[in-house]
């Protein structure tokens, strides 16, 4: 499906990619493009560049959705037919909201929220951002307030982390294990550990010895409270998963056209295929382009011809030609590696190229330039 159709027909775009490839810029540009075409779009991002956020009027927003004011568009000479909304994802708040939603009463809620172990899970645990991103996405998708939600995934070294993390967290909190873990604890009461299950007893004894008792009590208490919440939690996680493979969802993979990044990208594509998750588009970002159709040899020949006519300007002409030839070589290198990537893929890939811009993108006008390249 072409990018224009994705933006018209899908209701969720999940933008993935390894660190530093420009996910946030591409996410915002995709959202802008859809809004220009008349859809009501929300772009949900984790950690936008401050200059970009500021220039879009997205300061101090926390977990709240905010509409980009008309003025910001007008200043860039744009008049979108739809609406563009933005929000910054706050992982901790999303987790807390989820607990509030699934907790049966205030006492349970507070016990979870105040548990030191819970606080660690939500802040220090690798993967908690990814989990809360999908959780927030699910919440937003259920509300159906938007025609399209563009999710900019958390910055990770590997694009794959985004797919792995939520599962890791749910399997960690799995009820059966909790029950097994808690069984002896519950039987022992709160004052001591006397285990009936010998495997658990041994595990406990070692953990207790190594870590000290207090920690285990926090953990046990967390699981004790959470046990009642797990069903709601797991049901939600399953639905989130479903949403990810829904036909109305598509993944957009952002990659640089250079080797290590492409290597990661191909791992990611294989994995999407394996998980039967729909790949919408690959965006090659920061691609070197040459400002000419001439080849490096043409430039060299023209350069010689020119210096013969203008010997006084030889230094300048040589420098300019060398510079242009470098641009051509870089562009050719990128073109080659992109072609190789597309040829080696085992599934047909829709792709689009965004050139290496002169400066970084930090305002609406810049995003619109990216949009023009995305639109082809």
């Amino acid at each position: 499906m072409a990018l224009a159709d994705l933006l018209k027909e899908k209701s969720i775009l999940v933008v993935c990619g390894s660190g530093g490839v420009g996910k946030t810029t591409i996410s915002a540009s995709l959202a802008l493009l859809a809004a220009m075409e008349g859809r009501k779009v929300l772009v949900c991002t984790i950690d936008p560049a401050k200059r970009l956020a500021d220039s879009l009027g997205l300061k101090e927003l926390g977990n709240k959705e905010t509409r980009i004011p008309d003025l910001v568009f007008a200043q860039a000479g744009l008049a979108p037919k739809g609406e563009l909304w933005g929000m910054m994802l706050d992982s901790k708040t999303t987790f807390d909201d989820l607990i509030c939603r699934i907790a049966p009463d205030e006492a349970v809620r507070n016990r979870v929220l105040n548990n030191p172990f819970y606080q660690n899970i939500t802040t220090a645990l690798a993967g908690s951002q990814e989990f809360s991103a999908t959780e927030k996405l699910f919440e937003l998708a259920c509300r159906k307030d938007y025609d399209l939600i563009v999710l900019d995934t958390p910055p990770t070294r590997h694009a794959l982390d985004f797919l792995d993390a939520p599962n890791r967290l749910t399997s960690f909190l799995e009820a059966k294990v909790i029950a097994w873990f808690l069984g002896p604890y519950l039987k022992a009461g709160k004052l001591g550990f006397r285990f009936l299950n010998s495997g658990a007893a041994m595990a406990f004894r070692v953990l207790e010895k190594v870590t000290g008792y207090q920690t285990l009590a926090d953990i046990a208490d967390f699981f004790l409270v959470f046990e009642g919440l797990y069903e709601g939690f797991a049901a939600r996680a399953a639905k989130v998963r479903q949403l990810m493979s829904d036909p109305a969802t598509a993944f957009v993979l952002v990659t640089s056209p250079q080797s290590p990044s492409l290597l990661e990208a191909s791992f990611f594509l294989d994995r999407l295929l394996e998980e039967k998750m729909p790949l919408g588009e690959v965006v090659f970002n920061r691609v070197y382009t040459a400002p000419t159709e001439l080849s490096s040899e043409d430039v060299q020949a023209l350069g010689i011809q020119t210096t013969q006519k203008l010997p006084a300007h030889k230094t300048a002409i040589d420098a300019l030609c060398a510079n242009l030839r470098l641009a051509i070589l870089l562009a050719e290198a990128d073109k080659r590696s992109i072609r190789r990537f597309l040829e080696q893929s085992c599934q047909p890939i829709e792709s689009v190229r965004v050139p290496f811009m002169r400066t970084d993108i930090h305002d609406m006008a810049g995003l619109h330039t990216v949009c023009c390249h995305l639109a082809g």
Binding site: V21, L125, S171, F172, W180, A203, P291, L320, D360
Partner: protein, 340 residues
């Protein structure tokens, strides 16, 4: 959470060359800034000075394999040059090793780790990965070779290619979090050993890798501040990677300006080149704009970062192989020994 007085100002006056005398060097920064490349380059520079170096990679990244042009087995010290080894950390393996040390009997350790609860717990329990990772680094730095008077550390220097910030911060933060949680027990004293190692300015330094772009720079600022004031670690230098150099030398620039002001010459050129030679000038403007943008962020970095800044040039795509790394190592050596 804050920890006592910070090495602070003294840390800043540390001579750059002293970085080569540290036992443990953390290389950290936002994803995609070239941490792995610069970690290898720094390790290479150190081994060229006669140090026995091990590069410990926290994330198993395809980058390292790409740079070295060979496969590196996970959790196995692999010698890639006479004085340079690389090691890819794997938390579960590190945990197994740790448990075996604690429980003494390897079979019991395996039994413990294969316990259904424990293996589940370890799969997602917060912080364990980071803690055993730092633990493995600590353990490696403690190892010695030789006996009696000849006893010396097995590795003079450990270069740690830390995970991307965000995760990178929590990775260094975790020992402190654990020290806070653990009330007593053997692990508490071990965690304190880790903290001592991380916070000892004689042994340990954190370097930051960044790019002359907004987000990586912001992240570098956060990282430097957190490492210094929250974790009480010594911060060394910020490597500004990927600096696009000015496309023209000063005399070339002057010659170009001269050409541009010569309308007669421009007309001649325009008759030879398609579109009046627009491509020549566009390509020049492209690279000049990139170089200028880099310059602006470097100025901003100098303003916002308390560390010395080492500039490293943009390496064109496909050039970051071992030769590229050696070029970078030369530049790093030059910069750190006062040649920059």
């Amino acid at each position: 959470m804050t920890f006592g007085p910070v090495a602070g100002e003294e840390a800043n006056s540390m001579s750059l060359e002293a970085i080569f005398d540290k036992r443990i060097i953390f290389m950290t920064g936002k994803g995609g800034v070239g941490k792995t490349t610069l970690s290898v380059a720094l390790a290479w520079a150190a081994q060229e000075r006669g140090k026995n170096v091990i590069l410990m990679e926290v994330d198993n990244s395809p980058n390292l394999r790409y740079i070295l042009g060979r496969d590196i087995p996970v959790y196995k010290e692999t010698r890639v040059a006479p004085r340079l080894s690389v090691f890819t950390l794997e938390p579960f393996k590190a945990l197994e090793e740790y448990a075996a040390l604690q429980i003494k009997v390897a079979a019991a350790a395996r039994l413990f780790l294969n316990n259904r609860f424990v293996s589940y717990f370890m799969q997602a329990a917060p912080g364990w990965r980071e803690l055993v990772t730092v633990g493995k680094i600590w353990h490696t730095h403690q190892r010695t070779v030789g006996r009696g008077k000849n006893r010396r550390p097995e590795y003079d220097m450990i270069v740690v290619d830390a995970p991307a910030t965000g995760h990178g911060l929590s990775f260094l933060r975790v020992p402190a979090i654990f020290a806070d949680i653990l009330k007593f027990g053997r692990m508490q004293s071990q965690t304190n050993d880790l903290l001592d190692m991380l916070r000892d300015p004689e042994r340990t330094v954190v370097n930051v890798v960044s790019l002359p772009e907004e987000m990586p720079l912001n992240e570098a600022v956060t990282l430097v501040n957190t490492a210094k004031s929250v974790m009480g670690m010594q911060v060394g230098v910020t490597f500004m990677n990927g600096v696009h150099p000015a496309p023209f030398l000063p005399d070339e620039k002057a010659a170009c300006d001269n050409l541009l002001s010569d309308s007669c010459a421009l007309e001649t050129l325009g008759n030879i080149w398609p579109c009046g030679g627009k491509a020549l000038f566009d390509a020049a403007a492209d690279r000049q704009a990139r170089a200028q943008s880099c310059r602006q962020y470097l100025d901003l970095a100098a303003e916002r970062l308390p560390t010395p800044i080492v500039e490293l040039p943009y390496e064109y795509p496909g050039r970051v192989d071992m030769d590229g790394v050696k070029r970078l190592a030369c530049l790093i050596t030059k910069a750190l020994s006062g040649g920059a």
